[in-house]
Amino acid sequence: MADTDRKERAEVEVPLGIVHSALLEPFRTRLFVDDEMVVDAEITYDTAHRGIERIMEGMPVQKGLILTERICGICSHIHIWNGTRMVERGLGIEVPQRAHYIRVIGAELERLHSHLLFFGHAFEILGHETFSMRAFMIREPVQNMLFVLSGNRVHYTIPVLGGIRPRCDIDKQKKQTLLSMLATLEESLIQFRDRTLNDSLIVSRVRDIGYLSKEDAVKYGALGPNMRASGIAYDWRMDVSEYRDNFDFEIAVSDGGMVVDRVAVRVAECIESISIIRQALETLPDEEPVNVSFELGPMEYQVSYNEAARGEIYDSCALDDNGRILSYQNRTPTMSSLSAMEVACIGDHLTDATITIASCDPCLTCTNRMTVIDEARGREYILEPEELRRLARRRG
């Protein structure tokens, strides 16, 4: 049957969300089904707005950078790191190599706990409570490692302009503890990988569903592991000098484009992250972790990219004469990865569609913004609180 014929037949709509037990984030999904097979889908995700970029406007850059960490509770470190390295580059601040290493350790630990959180969530959606619990159990030592590294389990605030906070520096004892915890983690992660990816029932649920071709991944802008699971071998870490110049690592790629590939790519990335952390710990340069001899001042518009656990993140801003933030912008990977899932879930069973959508590991807290694009006048602006209130009054 031609696709158009199927779409015309799809008159039955099953709405999921905004609030739904399988969708941990606030987005609405409309699935158009033929019997129970999805023939068309629509995902709307701009239902929560925090206005974080607006709050940062005019804020001192140090304060603003700490606020970037609050964009997300899962990938908090990568936000503050990307923002910090953007400002450091713009102001020409030299950063010690030791700080780069510790920032990378933080980012890779974050990738590990984010991916393990994804496994827990994915198995929960599959209805496999035991594997979900085990994923969370394996994740717990990662949180403990972050606690050993930074003193916090979430919002670690490792980077600071010029390096890292002294409390996050790694002494000999901390290094030994982290290496020992890493070895245990690697063992349990490999056991988990071998158990889950060889479980015929699990594989039968995640194979042959959620297909996203390489072309569609490019067309709809799938990012990070979602893009690599569709055969696109690109990872921003290859272009970030802190990674590229210091560590050996492989990019996990799979050609399948299905949910099982998105899971497998993340599992492989976890193993690779452990390797990077081990390299960083074993070759940690012996020097001061922070450079405090710099001055804040005006900064031209700067852009910085990095590879978060979910894919590419983008930050940009400028600083005024007093080192205050002008026009901070942040874009997170869910915005485009989730859109790609509209295409990926077509052809799935209704129950499979939810795991397909979840397989892009959506994180809405860092996605929603209120930027207005006025095509007629060709301009783009952030909606002011007063303007919002005025519009609300007019509607009421």
Binding site: A10, E11, V12, E13, V14, P15, L16, G17, I18, V19, H20, S21, A22, R28, R30, F32, V33, E36, D40, E42, T44, D46, F123, E124, I125, L126, G127, H128, E129, T130, M133, R134, M137, L201, I202, S204, R205, H349, L350, T351, D352, A353, T354, I355
Partner: protein, 339 residues
């Protein structure tokens, strides 16, 4: 018929089973929790105290064209289950000629069909969120009919009834083929049960069909069907959290939810009791022999708890072949029984 035994059985058996059934969800949850390296809830919490908790919750009127009927369905289910249970007792074996596997199979089918009625008689608020396409953002416009979670669940129940529970019925009939009768008491008598006088010491004189080749194959088919009828993992697509959340029972709250829980608990123990009667040859009787019967009734819920801890929810892509495989197993059991 001895009227005093009949009256005693009618009064005692449902009460004892009703009380015992409230422990089973707690035992199942505890087993699953231990498999998952968790402590799990206290044994009485999920089945026993949960009932009281719901009884004292504020009552709500569901969004339903017939709310009273919707609320009555679990109560009907409870009565149906205990009626089936009574039909498997020696005291009820002569009542209206209903103590046969055909009658029991028919009544279990009615129990399964209750979920279809539940699904079609309610619509939760979760299914009517944002009831209009957001045109301003370019939403997809179709002449769309909205299908609620409950309706989807009802559709799935229909599919499961159509094909999923075949193994259960074949599993029921394997002992009948071996005994050469569809009467429950004849099946029990075939295994050495004495309907006139049976004491706890006579248990060791039973020759359970479970320990024969056709009996073992039939029992495996029965267990698969048991999971389907219970809508337990991996056959829980009717109420999978991933899409339809609680399925047909989403709108049950307060006392109605307590009744729904009791119906589920009754189904757990009664279907297990039928298994013990058919495959061990030990029907529920008033007396000390009821104790081993109740203990044996734990076997299937324990097996269900272990299986469900290691399986995901299966979609129909997996349910159909699996169900067909288990049906084939049941057919093999019947053929072996004939041979």
């Amino acid at each position: 018929m001895e009227w005093d035994t009949f009256a005693l059985t009618t009064a005692v058996i449902p009460v004892v089973f009703f009380a015992s059934s409230t422990y089973i969800p707690g035992i199942m949850r505890k087993i699953q929790a231990r498999i998952q390296l968790r402590i799990g809830p206290p044994i009485l919490t999920p089945g026993f105290w949960a009932i009281f908790k719901f009884i004292y919750k504020e009552r709500i009127t569901p969004v339903s064209p017939m709310p009273r009927l919707y609320h009555a369905l679990p109560v009907i289910g409870i009565f149906l289950m205990f009626f089936i249970l009574l039909l498997t007792t020696p005291a009820w074996s002569g009542v209206l000629g209903l103590a046969t596997l055909v009658a029991i199979a028919g009544l279990v089918k009615v129990e399964e069909a209750l979920y279809i009625f539940m699904g079609n008689l309610s619509q939760s608020i979760l299914s009517v969120r944002m009831p209009y396409p957001d045109r301003i953002k370019g939403a997809i416009m179709k002449g769309a009919t909205r299908r609620s979670f409950e309706q989807v669940a009802a559709l799935r129940t229909f599919k499961l009834i159509s094909i999923g529970s075949f193994p259960l019925y074949l599993g029921m009939f394997v002992p009948a083929v071996m005994a050469g009768s569809i009467s429950i008491m004849s099946v029990a008598a075939y295994q050495g049960f004495d309907t006139a006088a049976f004491g706890i010491r006579d248990i060791f004189s039973l020759s359970p069909l479970l320990f024969t080749a056709p009996g073992l194959v039939g029992a495996l088919a029965y267990v698969a069907g048991y999971l389907v009828v219970l809508n337990e993992y991996p056959f829980s697509i009717m109420h999978t959290k991933a899409d339809v959340i609680e399925g047909p029972s989403l709108e049950y709250a307060a006392r109605a939810r307590a009744a729904y829980y009791l119906m589920k608990e009754a189904t757990l123990i009664v279907m297990s009791s039928i298994f013990v009667t058919l495959y061990i040859g030990l029907p529920p009787v008033v007396g000390w022999a009821l104790v081993p019967h109740l203990l044996l009734c734990l076997a299937l819920p324990v097996a269900a708890a272990i299986i469900s801890a290691f399986t995901p929810v299966l979609t129909f892509k997996q349910v159909y072949p699996l169900s067909l495989g288990c049906t084939a197993l049941g057919v093999v059991g019947v053929i072996l029984a004939i041979l």
